[in-house]
C-alpha cells in the first residue's frame, strides 16, 4: 500500500510540469542592440499580469568583486530581499539615490554581507560612495514573468498564464521597447527585438 502511494506521488510529481506546460505558455526570443556587439543585461518583462505573487523564499545576491557589482543588472519580484556582499579587500559602500528605494547600507569591509528588501516596483540604481565608477541596477517588477538576456541576447519567460500582455524591455542606455504578445497554453511564442 505504502509502496503504491509512493509511486503515485512520484508519478504526480513527474506529471506536474507537463500539466503546467499544457496550461501555460512560453515567450522565447532574441534581443539585438543596434551597433552593439554585446546584447546582455536587457530585462524583458510582462505588464499587467493579474494576481498576487509571493517573493522568492531565498534571498538573491549582488557581490562586489574587483570593484565591480556582480551582476550588473538584477531583475527581482517586488518584496525580494537582496544581499550585498563585499568580496574585495577594500571597503565598499552600497547606496541608492533612486525613488523606488532610497537607502544607504554604509561602508563595510571584506566578507561582510548586508541586505535590503525591495518593496516597490521601479528601477533602483546602485552606487558605491567609495568608488564612483561602480554601478549596478535592480529592476523591481510586479510579477515573476521576466527574464534577462545573456551576451547572445537570448531570453526565455516560462509558465505564463494564457492571455494578451505587453512585453516591455529595460536597458541601461537604450530606449524602452514595447510589444503586444499573445500567450497560448502549451505554445511558445517567438519574439525578435532590436533596441536602438
Amino acid at each position: 500500500m505504502i509502496k503504491n502511494i509512493f509511486f503515485l506521488i512520484v508519478a504526480v510529481l513527474i506529471a506536474l510540469p507537463a500539466f503546467a506546460d499544457e496550461n501555460t505558455g512560453t515567450i522565447r526570443g532574441e534581443v539585438k542592440i543596434f551597433r552593439e556587439r554585446r546584447f546582455a543585461d536587457v530585462v524583458l518583462y510582462l505588464e499587467d499580469v493579474p494576481g498576487a505573487f509571493k517573493p522568492p523564499a531565498n534571498n538573491l545576491r549582488i557581490d562586489q568583486k574587483n570593484l565591480i557589482f556582480i551582476p550588473h543588472v538584477l531583475p527581482v519580484l517586488v518584496g525580494t530581499t537582496v544581499e550585498f556582499a563585499n568580496s574585495d579587500t577594500v571597503l565598499h559602500n552600497v547606496f541608492s539615490p533612486s525613488k523606488p528605494k532610497k537607502f544607504n547600507l554604509g561602508t563595510y569591509g571584506k566578507d561582510t554581507i548586508k541586505q535590503q528588501t525591495f518593496d516597490k516596483a521601479g528601477k533602483v540604481a546602485l552606487l558605491c560612495n567609495v568608488h564612483t565608477e561602480m554601478s549596478a541596477f535592480i529592476i523591481v517588477l510586479s510579477n515573476p514573468y521576466f527574464s534577462k538576456t545573456g551576451n547572445d541576447g537570448r531570453f526565455t519567460i516560462n509558465n505564463i498564464p494564457p492571455g494578451q500582455y505587453s512585453l516591455k524591455t529595460w536597458h541601461e542606455e537604450k530606449r524602452p521597447y514595447q510589444e503586444k504578445v499573445t500567450v497560448k497554453a502549451g505554445e511558445t511564442t517567438e519574439i525578435k527585438i532590436q533596441l536602438r
Binding site: 551597433r35 552593439e36 539615490p97 533612486s98 546602485l126 552606487l127 564612483t132 554601478s135 541601461e172
Partner: protein, 451 residues
C-alpha cells in the same frame, strides 16, 4: 617648362638660366617620383592620430586626403567630434569613467559624471617643404629647403557626450618671426544645449576659426597656399582682417533638420594681436545642403563597421552666406577702422569632381571719412583620379577701389596631391600670378604627415 619657355620668349631669362631652372625642376620631379615609388613599396605607416586611434579606423573614414574632410568627417566635426547616430558603439578605446552614469540621480549632491579619453588625445602634424621661388628683380629663381616648415601638436576629443575640446599648438613654423611657437586654436564646445537632438545647438568658447569662414574650410584645404578670398587683408590700420584668422570669443552653432547649418558669435577681433576694447567683432553664417549626406551625417550612417571605400563621394550642393563686422580700434581712437565682410560660399560635388568657391565683399574704414571697398573671389576645381591621387586648379583674385596701398591681384594655383599612406600626403603646388608685377611665382613640394 612651358612657363620657362614663355619667360625665355619674353627675354626674362637667358639660355644658361633656362638650363638651370630646367635642372631644378627635373630634380624636384625625380625626387617626387623616386620618393613616392620608394614609399609605395616600403613598409607600412603605422602611425595614426587621435581620432583614428580612438575609433581604430583609418584617416580616410573622415578625410578625402588629410586634412580635407569628407562629408562624414564634416558631420563628425559639427557634432562635436562624435560619430553620427551615436558615438559610443564606435569607440574602441573605452574611456575612463569619472563616475557612473547613475550619479546623475545624485546631482546636485554629487558631481555630474563625465569621461576621460582612454589615452592622452595628442596628435602631431608636420610639413616638410622644398620651395622654388621666382625672383623677379634679378630674373633668377631660388630653390631652398623649407624643412621643417611646420610642426604642430593637436589635441581633440570629448569629455562625455556633451563636451568636446580641440587645441592646436604650433610648435614650430618657419614663417613666424624668430620661428616662435604659437597657439593656433583652443576651444571647448558644449554640445546639444537643446536636449537630445545631436548638434542642434552648441556653444563654443576659446580661440577658433570663426563660423563665418567655415564654408570654405581653409583649415582643411589640400593646397599649401590659402584661398585668397579668406586670406586677404586690407592695408591701413593694424588689425589682421583676414577671415581665416583664429579669434578669441564665443560662438553658437548647430544644424537644423539635417540640411541647414548656422553659426554666429562674437570675438575680440584683431587675431593674435587681441584688441581689448569693449566692442566685439560679430560674425554669422547660414548654410544649406541639397543632396548627399545630411550635415549631421544622416543618410550616411554606417551600419556596423566604419568603411573607407568611396566615402569621398557626396553628390551634393552646399550654399552658404556669411558676414563679419570688425570693430578693431581702441575706445578712444579718432579713426574707428571698422570693417565689414559679406560673402557667399559654394561647394558642388558630383562623383569625382568638386567645385568650391567663395566671393567676399569688403568695406574698410582706413582713415577718418575714407573707406576702401574690396572684392575677393576664388574658385577651385578638384578632381579625384584615385583615392590617393587628387588634382586641384584654383583661380583667385582680389581687387580694390583704391590702389594706393592695395593692389589688385589675379593668380592661378595648380596642385597635385598624392596620398602615400592615409597619414602621409605629398603635394606639388605651382602658384603663378597672372601679371608678373603682382608677385613671384612659387613652386612647393610639400610632405605632410600626421601621427
Amino acid at each position: 617648362m612651358k612657363l620657362i619657355r614663355t619667360k625665355k620668349k619674353k627675354g626674362i631669362i637667358s639660355d644658361k638660366e633656362e638650363s638651370q631652372m630646367k635642372k631644378v625642376m627635373l630634380c624636384v620631379f625625380l625626387l617626387i617620383i623616386s620618393l613616392v615609388f620608394v614609399g609605395f613599396f616600403s613598409g607600412n605607416a603605422e602611425a595614426i592620430p587621435t581620432f583614428a586611434r580612438k575609433y581604430k579606423t583609418s584617416c580616410s573614414t573622415c578625410h578625402t586626403a588629410i586634412p580635407q574632410r569628407n562629408a562624414f568627417g564634416d558631420a563628425f566635426r559639427r557634432l562635436g567630434f562624435r560619430m553620427p547616430g551615436g558615438d559610443k558603439a564606435f569607440v574602441k578605446e573605452e574611456p575612463v569613467a569619472l563616475g557612473a552614469e547613475a550619479w546623475k540621480e545624485v546631482w546636485p549632491e554629487a558631481i555630474w559624471p563625465g569621461l576621460l579619453p582612454a589615452t592622452v588625445p595628442i596628435s602631431f602634424y608636420g610639413h616638410q617643404r622644398v620651395v622654388w621661388k621666382e625672383d623677379a628683380s634679378s630674373s633668377e629663381g631660388a630653390t631652398y629647403f623649407d624643412a621643417p616648415h611646420e610642426l604642430e601638436m593637436l589635441f581633440g576629443g570629448n569629455w562625455g557626450e556633451r563636451i568636446s575640446f580641440f587645441a592646436e599648438w604650433i610648435l614650430y613654423e618657419k614663417s613666424f618671426a624668430n620661428d616662435k611657437d604659437k597657439l593656433g586654436a583652443m576651444y571647448i564646445q558644449f554640445n546639444d544645449l537643446l536636449g537630445s537632438t545631436p548638434g542642434m545647438l552648441n556653444f563654443k568658447i576659446g580661440r577658433f576659426e570663426t563660423g563665418a569662414a567655415r564654408g570654405l574650410k581653409d583649415d582643411n584645404r589640400l593646397t599649401p597656399s590659402h584661398a585668397m578670398s579668406f586670406d586677404y587683408t586690407v592695408a591701413g590700420g593694424g588689425a589682421d582682417k583676414s577671415l581665416r584668422t583664429k579669434q578669441s570669443g564665443v560662438e553658437f552653432n548647430g544644424i537644423l533638420g539635417s540640411r541647414f547649418e548656422y553659426a554666429f558669435g562674437a570675438v575680440n577681433g584683431g587675431g593674435d594681436n587681441t584688441d581689448s576694447n569693449d566692442a566685439k567683432d560679430l560674425f554669422y553664417r547660414v548654410g544649406f545642403k541639397l543632396g548627399g549626406m545630411g550635415l549631421d551625417g544622416s543618410g550616411g550612417i554606417p551600419k556596423g563597421e566604419l568603411v573607407q571605400k568611396d566615402n569621398w563621394r557626396d553628390d551634393s550642393i552646399t550654399l552658404g552666406t556669411f558676414g563679419y563686422f570688425g570693430y578693431p580700434s581702441a575706445n578712444n581712437a579718432t579713426t574707428e577702422e571698422n570693417y565689414t565682410r559679406f560673402g557667399a560660399d559654394l561647394r558642388l560635388s558630383y562623383s569625382r569632381l568638386a567645385i568650391e568657391g567663395a566671393v567676399v565683399f569688403g568695406n574698410d574704414e582706413v582713415a577718418a571719412g575714407k573707406d576702401i571697398k574690396s572684392t575677393a573671389f576664388n574658385v577651385d576645381l578638384q578632381y579625384l583620379f584615385f583615392p590617393w591621387l587628387i588634382a586641384n586648379v584654383r583661380y583667385e583674385q582680389k581687387s580694390f577701389d583704391d590702389n594706393t596701398s592695395n593692389k589688385d591681384v589675379e593668380a592661378v594655383v595648380a596642385n597635385l596631391t598624392v596620398l602615400q599612406r592615409a597619414n602621409i600626403r605629398w603635394n606639388l603646388e605651382y602658384y603663378t600670378y597672372l601679371e608678373d608685377k603682382d608677385g613671384n611665382d612659387t613652386a612647393k613640394l610639400n610632405i605632410m604627415f600626421a601621427f
